[in-house]
Amino acid sequence: MSRSLCLLALLVVTLPVAAAASANDEFHVDQFRLDNGMKVLVREDHRAPVVVSQVWYRVGSVDEHRGVTGVSHVLEHMMFQGTDDLKPGEFSEVIARHGGRDNAFTSHDYTAYYQEISAADLGLCLKLEADRMTGLTLAPDEFRRELRVVQEERRQRVEDEPRSLTYERLRAAAYPSSPTRSPTIGWESDLKNLTIDDVARWYHRWYAPNNATLVVVGDVDPKHVLALARKYFGDKKARDLPSRSPASEIEPRGETRLKVHAPATLPYLAMAWRVPSLTTVDDPHDVYALDVLSGLLDGGRSARIERNVVRGSGIASGAGASYSPIARTDELFSVGGTPAQDHTVDELEKALRAQVEALRKGEITVDELERVKTNIRAGDVFQRDSMFYQAMRIGMLETVGVGQAAYEAYREGIRKVTAADVQRVARKYLTDERLTVAELVPEGVSGKGQATRDGKGPIEGQSDVVR
C-alpha cells in the first residue's frame, strides 16, 4: 500500500479482522460481578509476565446532548489531572516508574482507561483506577489548560485532516436527528463553551462501579484478580444511573449528498449506508452477512475493491470498505477512496456502486466466499498475538451490551453465511434510501486558506435522489 495514502480517513485502522476460529479453541473468559454491580472479566495469557488492565465506562458521545458534545472525551483527559491523593500527571508518572505505560480512549459508545505493566503491579493499577473513579479533583485551572490541549487535538486530527473532516460531516449528515451524529471529540464551538461544571456533572452522573467493567488479560490467576478488584472497588457505592434516551434516529427517506470544501489537493469520496449493529439488529445473521460482505469488498488484495477498482479498472488510487458491528447504535457501512490520476470522483462513485450492485445481484463465487472466511479465521489466530486487542474485544462486547457469548455466536454465524445471505443483506441494507455520499472538494493549498470559508463545506440539500 502506498506510503502516505490514508484511504478511508478515520476508517482505516488496519487491525486484523476479529472472528471465527475452529470450534475446538474456544476463547475462555472468566466473568465475575461485584456486589456493587461492577463487572470483572479475566482472560489468562501466560506468555509473558505482564498484564493489560482496562477499566471501561459505558458512556461516550452517543450519550451527549447538544451543546456539550465532546464532554466524555474531555473528562477522559481530566482523569489524568489529579485526585485527592494524586497531583495532576502523577497517575502516569507512577505507572511509568513501574515500567508500565498507560493511556485512555473514548468512542461513541464508551470511555476506557488502560495500563500495560508487569503482572506483579496489577494491584497498583486497580488502586489508582479506584481512586479516580470517585476522587477526581477537577480543578478549574487544569481544566482550562487541558481544554486547550483537546482543541489542539481536534485541530490535529480533524480540522487539518481533510478526509477526517469529510467523514465527520458525512456522519452528521447521515444521522440528522440523534446524538450518533456528533463526533466523539466534539464540535469546535461546543468545546469552546464547555465548562468545568459540565465535566463535573458528567463525571458524577456516569462514573460509578455499576457503569464500569474491569478487563484484565495476562499472566494472572482469575481468582486473584477478583480478590484485588473486591479489595479496591468493593466499597464503591452503586449509583442510580440516568435513563438513557433511546437515541432513535428518523427514518432515512432518500439519498443524502454533501460536499466538503477544504484546503487540499486530492479529491476523496466516502459513501456510507445506515445499517444495524449487533445491538440494534433484529436478527444477528444480518450482521454476520454484512461482515462477510465487507470482507468480499475489502478483505485483502484479492478482494473486489482492490482487484477491480484499484488494479483492474485503475479508477481508484486507493479505496476500501469498513463496517464495525460492535456498537450501541446503528452503524455506518462505508466505502470510499481517492480517484487515480486522470479519473474523477464521479467515476469512482460509479465504480464502487457497481461493486455493490454485483453483490445485490448475487454474483458471488464459492471460492471467494471461502477465502473471506479463511481470512477471518486466520485473523482470529493472529489476533491472539496481542493481549491488548484481546482485552479490547472483551471490553467492547461487554460495554455495548451484547456480552462475551456474542463472540462465539459470531464465529459460528460467520461460518454459516451463504452467498444468498450476502445477496439478501446487500438488497436489504445497501439501498439508496440509506445512503449518504460525501465528496471532498479540494481547494488547493496555496495562500492562507481564506477560500475555505472557515473549513465549513456546504451541505448540498438532503434530497430525494433515489436511483
Binding site: V50, E93, R145, R148, N375, R393, M396
Partner: protein
Amino acid sequence: MWFDNLRWLRLAAGAVALVATVPALAGPDVQQWTTANGARVLFIEAHEIPAVNVQITFAAGAARDGDHPGIAHLASNLLMSGTQKMTADALARAYEDHGAEVSTGSARDMGWVEFRSLSDDEQLWSVARTVAQMMAKPAFPASEIKRLKDQQRTSLEDEAQSPGDIAQRAFWKAVYGDHPYGHDPLGTKDSIAAMRRADLLAFHDRYYVARNANLAIVGDLDRAQAEKLAHELTAPLAKGQPAPALPPVPRLDHDVTVRKPFPSTQAHVLIGRASVARGYERWPALYVANHVLGGGGFSSRLFSEVREKRGLVYSIYSYVSPMADPGPFIIGFQTRGDQADQAVGIVRDQLDRFLDQGARQDELDDAKRNITGGFPLRIDSNSDLAGYLSMMGFYGLPPDYLARFPKRVADVGTTEARAAFADAVGSAPRVTVIVGGGRAEQGGQGTQ
C-alpha cells in the same frame, strides 16, 4: 473491522515514532545462522500461537535510489504485482486462500517483505514458496508499472496537502542535503515519469539478492523447520553482493530555519539534526537521556513543559532514529499557528537547558525504571519480536543485543547520559522547520 471505532487516544503521535527505536528485552533465545547463498537469519522459537511472523529486509531503501529518486519505493510496491508465473490477482489469491497476510514496504535504509501465516504445513510452505518467487522473480508488468507510477504521483500530491509531510520532507532536505537520505523517498513527478522498466529490473536485480538480505523469523517452528523456511525463502534469490556503504553525512555549518506557508490551523514544527548511526556505542546512555527529554511519553520534560504546564500542544516528542548512516535527532510538535513562535522558543530553551545541565538523578532513575521495567511489555508479541530481530539483523547487531540492553541501561549514570546526549545532539547547528498555521485565526480560535 470490529475495532474500527476506536478513535480517540489521549496521545497518539510520537508514541508511534518511538517504537522503531526502542530496543527490547532479555529472555528469548535468539538463534543465528547464514543460508547457503549468504542471507543472515535470526530466529526465535515461540509455540504459544500456531502462527509464524517473518520479515525479510534488504538494503534496498531510498538511500539506494541513485539517479532515480523514488525507484526503491516503486520497486517495493511492484513486488506484489505478480511473478513470472502469476498475475497480481493470482498472487493475492495464493496468499489469501491460505489466510496469510503479506506486505512489502520501504524506507530510507530498507526495502522489506513481511508476512504472517498459520504454521501448519498445509498453509506455511505454500505461502513461503510463493513469497520466495515474488522476491526473486517478480514480473514488473508494464500495466502495473504505469498504475503504480500513477499511485506514487497521487501519494506525492497527498504529501503536498499534508503540512506534517511537508515538514518532514523539508527537514530531511535541510539536514542531509545531497546525501542519499536527503531526498523524498517518493521521488518527484519528473523522476517517476522517467523511470523505465529496465531501470526497475536493474534496481531489483542489484539489491534484492541473498547477500543483501536479512531474515527474522519468530513463531511456532523448531530449528530444523526454521532452517527449511529460511532456505525456501532465499534459495531462488541470486547470491549477489551486499550494498556498498553510504557516503558520509555532511555537517551543517550554521543553524537553518525553514518556514513554509500552508493553510492549516496548526503549525507543524520539527527541530533537530543528524545524530548517530545504529551501533553507536553509547546508545543506552543516549536512549535514557532522550527518554527524559522527550522520549518518555507522559512523563518527559517536553510533555510536561509544553503540554501539561501550558496546554500548547496535543502531542510532542523527541527521538533519535539510528540508521545505517547517522540518523536524525528530532523534536516534533504541532500547535495553533499563532502560538508557534512561542512554543519553538520554549522548546529550544528546554533543549539548551537539557544539554547544559543534563537529567537530574531522580529523572534518570525514573527513566531507567520505566525502560528496564517495561522490557517484558515490548516483546510480549511475536510481531514485536520479529520487528526487533529484523532491526538487529539488518544493522548487524549481535544476537545478544536484546538480552544485554536492560543491564546496559541500568548501568547508565547522569554523567554518561549527559555526555552521550552532548556527543550525539550537542551544540552542533540545528535545523528548525515550521510549516503552516496560516488558518489559525479562522479555523481555530482558542480559549485564551
